[in-house]
């Protein structure tokens, strides 16, 4: 297994995650290979149930993979002892969960929510207050600091959740659809916040989104499909990614011509690689 390259902060190698339910097993990830560079802004795309949230949980140290490895900042999360994993979550990552409400203590005020991770990390009170004020300003919640979370709108809750996630200035921010409930203006504001964070503190951001505009604002996009990395996009161009066993996922528009189960002839030329859809002879006769 290839160890992570020097410049990358996150490296996933052949990641598998399997959920056991009462009757059957769900393979949520099946062999994900992914490298994320320091200071990169990465968008994770993909249809519902593709395994995006699962990938974030593994990278954030919330779960351990069924197989494969995750390195973050040189630490092999799969082998990290529980206490170290806790310390990792406290200091090394910020997490915005997909369900907005879960990110916050409902009965506490916005400021108290902001202070909770800092309190856990033992940040002195004065520094905490100062930092909380700055974060509220950055998310446009200056006026709502004392209000209970219940009294905030869904969008305000989401912005607050992002602010809470970065309170301890983690080198890695994992955000699961942080702009799902935001209008365009506020979504832009959150994206701006992430960009500023990266620029000022070099934070690496991994963001799951279904919003093409938000994805465009990122340095790179990675599509997950069926628990695998399907495609990658940079600067508005989408690339197919060849998987560890030579597996290739076709971009969505190619699937119209080559639907799942279709046969194709692969023709490797000097430049492009061509796929010719064909009818296998004995198959057709049957």
């Amino acid at each position: 297994m290839t160890p992570p390259a020097r410049g990358s902060l996150v490296a996933c190698r052949d990641l598998f995650q399997i959920y056991r339910l009462a009757g059957h097993e769900v393979v949520a990830l099946q062999g994900v290979d992914l490298d994320i560079a320091r200071g990169e802004l990465l968008a994770l795309l993909g249809p519902s149930g593709a395994g995006k949230s699962t990938l974030l949980a593994l990278v954030g140290g919330l779960e351990r993979p069924a197989a494969g490895r995750v390195w973050v900042d040189g630490q092999d999360l799969a082998r990290l002892p529980e206490a170290a994993l806790t310390a990792f979550r406290r200091g090394r990552v910020g997490f915005v969960l997909q369900t907005p409400a879960r990110n916050l203590l409902p009965y506490a005020s916005a400021v108290q929510n902001l202070e909770l991770p800092m309190r856990l990390a033992g940040v002195p009170a004065a520094r905490r207050r100062e930092r909380a004020r700055a974060l509220l300003a950055a998310t446009g919640l200056q006026a709502s600091g004392g209000r209970s979370v219940r009294a905030l709108s869904g969008g305000e809750q989401q912005r607050l959740a992002v602010a809470v996630a970065v309170a301890n200035e983690p080198p890695l921010l994992l955000a699961d659809e942080p702009t799902s409930q935001l209008d365009r203006g506020n979504a832009a504001r959150v994206l701006e916040l992430l960009r500023v964070l990266r620029d000022q503190t070099g934070t690496t951001v991994v963001m799951v989104t279904h919003d093409p505009e938000a994805a465009e604002a990122m340095d790179r996009t990675v599509s997950i499909r069926g628990g695998r990395v399907g495609a990658e996009g940079r600067g508005g161009v989408e690339y197919a990614v060849v998987g560890p066993t030579g597996l290739l996922q076709l971009p969505a528009h190619a699937l119209e011509v080559l639907p799942p189960g279709a046969r194709a002839l692969v023709e490797v030329g000097d430049g492009p690689v061509l796929l010719h859809p064909v009818e296998p002879p004995d198959e057709a006769s049957r």
Partner: protein, 1058 residues
Amino acid sequence: MRTISREAFGGLWLAVRALVARAGLTLALTALTAFAVGVAAAGAMYLRAAGESLLQDRLAATSPFSAGLLVERRVATSTEVERLRQLLRHDPRLAVPALTAPLFGLESEGFLTYSRPGNSDGPRARIAAREGLCGHLRLAAGRCPAAGAQDQPMQAAVSPRMARRLGLRPGSRLEATTLRGEAVAPGLVVTGIYEPTPTDPWWGMRAYFPPPPERGGGSDPPIDAVLVDHTALLRELDRSLTRNLSVTAERALDPGRVRLSNATALVGAVTQFRREAWASAGGTRVESRLPSLVDQARLDRRALTTPVLLATVQLDALAMLMLLVVARMAADARAGEIALAKLRGASSRQAFLLATYELTVVTLLAFPLGLAVGWGGASALARVQLRPGVPVAVTLPALGVAAVVSVVALAAAALAGTGQVRRRVLALWRRERPEPGTRHGLVPELALLAAAILGMVSLRLGGPRQGGGWDPVALLAPALAVLAGGLLAARALPALAGGLVRANAGSRSLAIYLAARQVARRGGAALRVVVLLTAAFGLVAFAVTVRQDQRRNHHDRAWTEVGAARALQVRLPPGMRGERIAAVADPGGRQLLPGLRTGAAVAFSGTPFTLLGVDPDRYGRVAFWREDFAGQPLGRLLAPLRPTARVPPPELGPAEEIEVRLAADSVALSAPPELTAELLGEDGRIIQVLLGPVRPGRHAYRAVVGAGGAASTESYRLLRLRLDESEELAGVTGVYRFEAVRARQGDRWRLIGGFDPDRWYVRSAQGRVLPTTAAAGSGALVIALHRDPEARVTVNSAAVPEELPAVVTTGLLEDTGQAVGGLLSVRDAQGTLLKLKVTGVARALPGTDGAFVAALVDLDGLLLYGRDTRLAGRAHLWAAAGPQADAAVGRLERLGVEIEQDLTAGQRRADLGRQAPALALLLLVLGAAAAAVLATGGMMLHLYLDGRRRRFELAVLDALGARHRDQWLPLALEHAVLVGWGVLAGGAVGLATALVVLPAVPQFLDPPRVPPALHLPDWPVLTVGAGLALALVAAGLSLVVAGLVRAARPELLREEVL
């Protein structure tokens, strides 16, 4: 340091916010913890108060003076008296708290003889003085005696009896002489006639007013004391004429100042006092009943400890169980926060602290609250059950127990929380949990079941245990059984519901199908709450059944011991007999039952038993009776007792003197037997007239009948003649020929009759028939005793039955090994031998004061053997319940009957209700009821929390346009099944447990031997109780369901779950 405290404070603040946010859960948690703390504290506080109450009961049952201290000393001079006064008043070593200042008195050691001047004969009585006499003397005439002048006659108050005997009026002169014949110098002058007030506690332990003497007794007993002024008597002391004076100092106990806490010190002080008083003035008698009273109170309290502990332990076990369940519910509710904290990198320790903060706050809140609740409960209970005014204090043990329970509660709740801390972050959100009913959970449940069964079996086999010592099995078996029953019921529920689903699969009733399906699918939390509910209601049903059982048995016991609604001991007007006066006051024979209760003994074994003589007809109507006492109806049982027509014993008429003609031969001259006649007086008493030693030859033996030689108007009957061996115990031998009896009235002698062998029979002391020969035609009876000397020979009137038909208790039959139809030789209180012919058996005989060994005979028959002389002038009477009976008692009083003792079955029952087991059971019932209410509350809370999650489901239905009924009916049905199952299964389990255990739980029942306890469930009370419980639960449920349905609006779907 500052930051740490600020941290802690910040955490606390968060915890408080969280608690407020989950007000319902917080309330439940706090209430449960407070309940657990309260029950434990209440147990301790109540125990103390009840002990205090028992002590006060003991103290109140004795007069303040007899509970206090008596100092008595013989003195010869007033200086000695003064010395003792100084000592008692001022010596600090003799100070005893809780005793009043001493009340001094003087009295003659022996009796003086009083007479009118110039006449040396008269009654004997004490002369006595008491400080503050005039404040307490009730005068019928004249005034209270004063100190008077030195040389004047001493002023005195005398009783009406003395006044009547000597013809005294205020102003009359009186002389008093000591036994040695010395006269009290200038004599006495009567200033007043007083009414004896023997019931006034002020007289303390002085017996100045003896009851009227019996008539017919030869001697002239002393009568009411002559009361004089204290200073005057002291002066007389120095005049050396009445040297034999005792000084008394009585200190009454102030019961209000005696507490369990100072009782020991008080007893110590009294002991010390005795020693000191002895040391400083030898020959001083110091008496106090305080030590023995305090000892008894301590025993009472010890008897109370185990039952109260039993109740407390069971309640606290239940409270802990509830606490665990609710703590788990709270932990579930907290799962999101813990998950969030863990997401943010909180270490296990931090997450744990976060969880514990809340519990700590709850515990801190619950501790004072629990103490207050416990205090309130104990106080309320004390007000109902204990002596009025007994304080309920928050004692140190109560605080300690409460603290221990708090800590345990905290630990239990924290334990429930640790599971959360250890689980993975995402699992917490998904509320994943191990499947219920895994084998892992089955092991402790099976162990519990086994322990419960074992406990019950060992209880049953062990039978009632006497003594009420520590018995861990008895202590816990019922609670274990109820809990195990709850577990079984909860496990059975989903299976039953599953069956219902299958049965209803094809039916059109959607509601039932949906509800049953939901119940069948229910997992851990719901079933845990069902267990709780079952256990709580099981404990209630158990406690109520046992208590009702105990109450009914107390009722039967009280009525059996008292005999009827009311038992009276009365003093009769002179010459009156109880049965006669009862016939006057209650001619119908339905309200009053006269009777004679006396001690007797089995002649062969000496076993003492109670002999009750009553009119069988009145007994059947007035006395308490329970069907199971005898195998046949009461009427048939008593029928053989009714007297058959009898020849009455020979009537002497109003005789003053009696004469018996007797010819004796071969009598031991050195030790002749004594001849005595036994006469039956009009008032039913037997009068013994000593006719003197038998001399050889034919003689007429004469003796005066009646007291004082005054002309008698009373009529007598001759019951029997007796020959007793002399004091040398030589036995009675020789040949005796009884010829005739004569009686004298005025100057006339009248022949009463001869000794016709048909109308007389002769018995030895052992009841053996002695052979007689009739001297033909002469009406004389000859007894020849040659070989075996007899201790006593009686010549009995044939009217005195040889054997009395009797209904006896099983106990008496067992003791004598007799059977129905057999004969029992017994001796009555006078030692007279009588034979009882057993005509029936009863397991208990009401009116015999709860005697296990007793016999019931016809009163008239018994009276021919004589009345207990201790009962002279008195009678036992029983009265039925109701206003008519009260009116009959009122008529009795108007006829001059004085009620000396009035005992009602109601009072007796109340007394039993105030004994230890009853008190503890009440505690258990009330505690279990409170626990059931709390468990119901917990269930409601669970349903509500669970329902809140399901609100979305309802909201979806609503948004889809489902009819209102289709929304709430399945929900209501589902909840009703869960709760109703818990209540009903609990009730059944509790009832079954009670029925299995009832005859065997010693601490609960203190089974009396008489009457045998009956164990039957009290269906009406149980039904009403179940109805009440179901109503309470239904009310709570409708609130929950209504709240949920109202909250399930379609707008809800737009909100986030918070």
